[in-house]
Symmetry: C2
Subunit: 165 residues, 2 copies
């Protein structure tokens, strides 16, 4: 559901090189992980997978590379409604922005694109005289399957809160 679609392997590397950014063994490993990811990965997962390609990759290199990619708008940083801790997830930025819809019960992430979203961004640029660089729309709630089984909408936000009051 998340990613590649129309991605050519090595594309990320090529884009960075084209911008005059030095390519290292470590970066190659990290970029390759991000490019071939089949789901949204957090920094720790990217680290672990990159180390399988190049054992020397360090935690701080992953964070520094993610910073670099964010600055160049080549990845988007997501929270996915903080369904699992406070960390961030990363995904290759390709073409049109999309919305992340997260089921608070089963954790499934659905990606959604909409003309309305594009129009809304245009409206903000126009009416607020604002130059949008990144727009992140995240939605939490219950998917069709989970909504049926849902007892009380108050239970289980962020998964697993039984006690209340």
């Amino acid at each position: 559901m998340p990613l590649p679609k129309t991605e050519i392997p090595g594309r990320l590397q090529a884009e960075l090189s084209a911008r005059g950014i030095r390519m290292t063994q470590q970066r190659r490993a990290i970029l390759s992980v991000i490019e071939t990811a089949k789901k949204h990965l957090d920094a720790a997962q990217i680290l672990r997978q990159a180390q399988r390609l190049n054992a020397a990759v360090d935690r701080s290199t992953v964070y520094r590379t993610l910073e670099l990619l964010k600055r160049h708008r080549m990845v988007d940083e997501l929270d996915l409604m903080h369904m699992d801790g406070e960390g961030h997830y990363y995904e290759r930025k390709l073409g049109r922005d999309h919305i992340h819809i997260a089921c608070l019960r089963c954790g499934r992430i659905t990606e959604f694109m909409s003309e309305l979203f594009d129009s809304l961004k245009q409206q903000m640029e126009r009416e607020c005289r604002f130059a949008i660089v990144v727009a992140r729309l995240e939605v939490g709630g219950y998917c069709a399957q989970c909504a049926d089984r849902q007892l009380s909408p108050l239970a289980g936000v962020n998964r697993g809160n039984l006690h209340d009051t």
Copy 2:
């Protein structure tokens, strides 16, 4: 710019009581801070201000109370594009959802409401058969004043990154 507008003091407390939730001195202090806030506050700021009302308030009580309010959908949790660290900001949830537009240069937050946003949410509910509980749209970019003075759009994302490559 952010908050009160149509808020009656003590309303938050009344709403919690109405839901059968026990009211303590500490909670009263925290709720009062949130209700009367004139800007978006993070947990540390809420703690400091609440302690001025009741010195006994503890950090973990603030976090626990924020959890409670989130569960009951009485506050929204914001990231404000992580312009200043990784923490979260909180605001009283009132009526219609709004969008947070953050200038990456001057840090100003603008709140924006739009019919299109409402329609977009309806579209997601319909087309994805999804019951939306919370929707958070955050936008980063440059406000009119800052866009003029902007040298390179690459410089200064998250404020203050000079070195690149």
